[in-house]
Structure formats: C-alpha cells, structure tokens
C-alpha cells in the first residue's frame, strides 16, 4: 500500500464508491439484522439513530469517498529540500504511517470513512467497530475489500475484527504490528486504554466546549452562536456544554437566550449570577462537576464572569482543548482569547460546531485530536502520515 501509485489508490476508491451505490440494499439488509438483534433493544433512541442506515446514508458514504478521491495524495509530498553545508542533498518526504487501528462506536459510516482515508494515505487499517454494528460493518468492509481487489491492491489492507471476540487491549499492545491506534468515542475507552496501551495512540477524545460572550459582543450574534453550538446537534464532541457571559451583558443577554434554549428542550444549570439574571426557576444550581461535564445532550451550564481573563482561566481549567469560541466586536479581545486559550480550535464569532474534517476542507476525518502531539484537530489524510529524511551524497563522511 505504501508504494501504490495515486491513480491505483483512486481507482480502488472509485470502485468502492460505485459498489456502495450499486449494492446499498445488501448493506441495508445487514443493518436491519443489526437493528433487529435483541441486544439493540437496549440502545437509546440517539444510539439507534447512529446505528441505523438508509439509502441516503449509504449514498452519502459514497459521496464522502468521491470527495477523498478529489483530494491530493499526501504520500511523497516534499516538505523540505535543501543542500546542507556538508554538500548533502536533504529532502524531508511524507510517507504513510503503516498499520492504523481504529476502535469506534456503533456508527457504520465510520467504517467507510476510515478505510477510504487510510487507502488514500497508503496505509493499512484494522477496524474494530462495535458489536452492535458487526453485520453492517462486515457488509461495508466486504465492499471496501472488493474495491481494493478490483484495482489490484491487497484486500488485506482493510481488516475488520470480530468485535464480539477480539480484545481491545490486545490491539492496544500489538507493539510491532500497529503503528497508530485511534480510539474514538468516550472518555471511558480512553481511560481504559491510557494505562494499557503500549502502541502509539491518538485519542479522538471528548469535547467540553465553551462559548464566551464578551462585554462588547453583538448580542444577536451571540444568541445565534450559543444556540447553534448547543442545540443543532447536541450529541457530538464539538457541541458547546458551557456558556460563559461577561457580567456587563448578562442581564441583557441571558433572559432571551436562556428562554430560547429552554424552548428547545435544553436543561439549564448555572452559577448564582446566571440564576439571578433570569430567575432561579429557569436555571438549576450548577455544582462543581457540571463545569467539567461533557453532557453530549440537551443540557448546558451557564456562568457569569468578570472579565475576559476570567473566561480564559475557566476555559483552560475546565475545557478539554477541543473547540472554544468567543463572541466579541473587538479584534483585540478576539486575539487575546485566541492566543490565551489552549485548544485545538479557537473561534472568534462563529459556532464551535465547525470543527470537522469536512468543514475544514480535509474531505473527511477519522476523529478529532485534542492532544498536542502529532496531530491536533481533525485527523485527515496528512495526519495519517509521518516523514522520512532522504539524504543523497557523493561519498560524504563526517569529519
């Protein structure tokens, strides 16, 4: 895979996209079996919704694959090229990582997104999905492997493990076989792997995201951004969990905004000043744990702060380094917040919901990294590569 030409990789991706469109009924049949499984009865509506496929959803997978075809091949990209004082000609070249393993939740589309990104980046992938989605994933992986074979690439570049049998810890300790493990999903999985993993890991982790409304904000804009960041899709990692408001605008902003959030079904908790601004009936008492909680649900914590500095301190203390937003009409305040907040993505006057490989023009993503090493933010094609120095000489030796 590492040395496959771009055209051959794209041919495989095109074959996969075509098969997804032609054979969506096979996929839906497998998905129906997953949904009919007695264990699926225990899932919440939100989880069933993530597991359920439709013709439109399978078609959208095919479109995602087509978008990845249109992106440039990262492999072979020359990041640096120079002649050293020794006369050596040094090039820093982008190369595939090798074998990537992904552990993911019961979302069958992840199977195709991950496989397509790893094929394009010249890697092999080991997929370990949820047992709830095992049949759906198997149908999708079969299509992917057929696409590889039809382009003359090895089927073995995409392997789907048996989620019922194969151990997550075994994968996380497969030292000379796995070059990178990406665990998606909750903090629980992260905690389980943190002690056990010996292979390199990139956690596609939680987002305890904040929207901070500064004293000089356009309040209409602030309302739209805070509402969107919380309500538009509450179950994802780039949704906001906490709203922070400068005390100077709390009385004007909060009553209308919190009323709108409540009408959208958002359960609200807050500190004393937030509650005082709107009446304690509308907002419950936030406890210490609330500021650290990623609700992933229609719930939001609301706090009033004295200054931008206090907002930054709150964000850096309680945030998970995912996506943080400020609403302000001052360039200086925007810059101050952007520089001082320690996170993968910082927004000035926009919703945190934009943190996403597709929105960022990266085609797709395997997840979103909140760690600082290797990759920070959406994990796309480039993040699935490493580099190699290739140095040409004419017999140079070190003096």
């Amino acid at each position: 895979m590492a040395r496959a030409p771009s055209a051959q990789k794209d041919e495989a991706l095109a074959a996969i996209a075509e098969r997804l469109r032609d054979r969506f009924e096979d996929v839906l049949e497998a998905n129906a079996a997953d949904l009919a499984d007695e264990r699926a009865a225990g899932l919440s509506d939100a989880l069933v919704d993530r597991l359920r496929l439709s013709e439109a959803r399978v078609t959208s997978m095919a479109e995602g694959v087509a978008q990845i075809i249109a992106l440039g091949d990262p492999v072979g990209e020359v990041l640096d090229s120079k002649v050293l004082t020794s006369g050596l000609h040094l090039r820093k070249v982008r190369v595939p990582l090798g074998v990537i393993a992904v552990i993911y939740e019961a979302r069958p589309n992840v199977t195709v997104d991950c496989a397509a990104l790893t094929i394009k980046s010249g890697n092999a992938i080991v997929l370990r999905g949820s047992s709830y989605a095992q049949r759906s994933n198997a149908a999708l992986a079969a299509i992917v492997r057929e696409g590889l074979a039809s382009a003359g690439l090895p089927e073995a570049a995409v392997e789907l493990l048996d989620a019922g049998r194969d151990d997550v810890v075994k994968l996380a300790t497969a030292d000379r076989s796995v070059d990178l493990l990406i665990p998606r999903g909750g903090e629980e999985l992260k905690a389980a792997l943190k002690g056990a993993a010996t292979v390199p890991v990139l956690y596609a982790a939680a987002g305890n995201c904040h929207v901070y409304v500064h004293e000089d904000a356009d309040l209409e804009q602030a309302r739209r951004i805070a509402y969107n960041a919380k309500v538009q899709r509450p179950g994802v990692c780039n949704a906001a969990e906490t709203l922070l408001v400068h005390e100077a605008v709390a009385a004007e902003l909060l009553p209308g905004l919190l009323e709108a959030l409540r009408s959208a079904g958002v359960d609200l908790v807050g500190d004393d000043r937030a509650r005082a601004a709107v009446g304690e009936a509308m907002v419950g008492q936030a406890d210490d744990a609330d500021w650290d909680t990623e609700y992933l649900d229609l719930k939001m914590a609301v706090g009033v702060v004295d200054s931008l500095e206090a907002a930054v301190e709150h964000v850096n203390r309680h945030g998970t380094g995912h996506s943080e937003a400020i609403v302000t009409s001052s360039e200086r305040a925007g810059d101050e917040f952007s520089e001082a907040v320690d996170a993968a993505c910082v927004y000035v006057n926009a919703s945190t919901r934009f943190t996403d490989g597709f929105e960022f023009g990266m085609g797709a993503e395997i997840g979103n990294s909140t760690q600082k090493l290797h990759a920070r933010g959406p994990i796309g094609l480039r993040e699935l590569t490493t580099t190699k120095y290739v140095v040409h000489g004419e017999g140079q030796v070190r003096e």
Copy 2:
C-alpha cells in the same frame, strides 16, 4: 513564555551565551567537583569523557546558543490559511507545546542545548539530568536562569530537578503538568518508562544502524563510508553497527575494509559468508543477538546478502528506524532502498553519522526521534511546537 516576543527570547539567549563565555570558570569548578566525586570513580573512560568540561566545551555551548538565536522563531508561523466554504477564515498556527521535560545522561552540554531550544520555542522546561553531573548542571542552569531574568523572562521557565531525589516515574506521570517528556539515553530507560509513563513521550532512542554496499557500489566510497560510520565516533546513536555487503562484491571489498576496521580496533563478528571472504581468524561468529545489538562501541557485525531486497529485509527486521545507508552507483537502487527502508533517515552514498540537528541545519537538537508520531529524526525547534486552528467568522453557525 508562550507569548514572549522573539526579540525578548533572543535577548535572553544572548545573555546566556555571554554569561557562558564570561563565567566558564564557575562551570569548570562545579564540573571538577562532579569529577572528583567518589561515585565518578566507577565510570568508564568514555562516560568520564562525556561528563568532563573544558573551556573549549563551554565556549562551544555558547556558540550553540548563538546559532539558535540566528534561527527563525517557530512560534506564530502560519502553516495554512484559507477561506472555508462556510466563509470562515481558518489559519493553522504554530504554538509552543507548553512544559517539556527532558531526562538525560551525564552530558552537561545537554542542559544548555535543551534550555536554549525550549526558550526559543516559547516553552518551559524541566531538566532531569544524571546525578553524576548534578553540580555541573546546576552551574549551567543558574546561568540560564540569570539570562532569562536579565531579559525580563521568568526564571521558572527553566527548572533543574535534583537527580538524587526526584523520581523519573513521578515526572512521567505528571499528567496535567508535563506536555511532553523526552527521555534521552539507553533502551533501559525507555523500557522503564514504556509501561509507566502517562504523559506524552518522545523517545530519543537507540540506533541500530546499517551500511549496505550494493553490487554496483564504488568500492572506495563504500570503504570510506563504512569506516566512518563505525569508527569516527562509535559511542553515538547514528554510528553503524552492522555492515551488509552484496555477495557479488564481498570478496573484493571485505578483506581490505575489514583489515582497516580491525586496525582501528574494531572487534568483528560475521555470518559464514563474511567469514569465508576474509578468513575465520579475522571475524568471529555472529550469533542471532548480534544483528539486534546497538554496540555503541568499536564492534561491528558483518553480513553478506544475495540482493538489495534481502538487505532491505534485514534492515527492516533488525533496525531501529534511526539511520540507514546504501552505497550504490545506480539511482534506481538508491531510490528502491530509500523507499523500502522504514527509518527516520535514509542515506544514499553518505555516512549515517550525519543524522544530527546541527548537520541538518536545525541549529541543535534535543535528541533524535525514531518513532513515527509527532517528530521523526532530529528534535529541533519545530518539533517542540504544536498547532492551533484559529478561525474567524462573522456570526456563522452550522446548518
């Protein structure tokens, strides 16, 4: 530190360089006390040589700092800037990692190299040197801290731990305090940390490096490269440990080359064909462990292979992904080796000894990474940074 202007950081570095030159006698006095310590009596000559300072060595530290001043500031570098389809203006900006911890062997110059690189890259550093060098390190760290203070930067940006007391494992598990741990030195330290570390780690690890002489090599060039890679400084990680020779040139190349290596004091072991080419008296029998051993000494394993493919297979099986060289007169063979070998640095017709931050034009290095994630090869200024997406909008929300 993260937000200090370039000029202020360079001012601190200049003050450090000046003090190193002016106060080298203080440093030499502290170093003499380290060398006179009864525990130092147990060190080998090579280790004493690494620990020992001289006026020239302290001056050379000052020169290293001056070189780092001359490099560009990586902080604030814009790696990507584009307008997204949503109209958002996205910039990917280089930012410091935060707090870097380095665990290192009894080489006092590392104290200054690491401090200078972290200051320039806007980070703070925690230094945990060897107890053998504690007094030398303390004298150097005092100079560094004075330099910081004289430029109005916080002294606390450089902390030297007490190697006699402070625990390596404590440092490796300081989860919210340490953003990156770089353990230098042997595989033993790596093994000890591998299970224990919970903070992000970049191993500046061992080099089991190879020189492969292809059938079409200029044999005079091959002799010089192999000799240099083994003999010029055998105790460092980019020195070669194994020589592989294509069978077509073994009989012509090996007698003269191995005689020269022997004359330089190199202890030789080899496989049957290598021994047959020069007589068994000159070359001992290599056992399985030899091919996997980083001797870090005047010892070398010699093997004869049937083909370039066999050489690549040997290198990928036994190498540690550090630095690998081929000697060949064919561009095709050079490209084949460069692509197929999985290592941080691959050389065509040059000695492996060039893998070094200074040689690569990076000013200095904190070590050399053989892992694939985050940084591969010399760890310089850029490798001590991460990135942040800063996204400006005009009220955009996700539909």
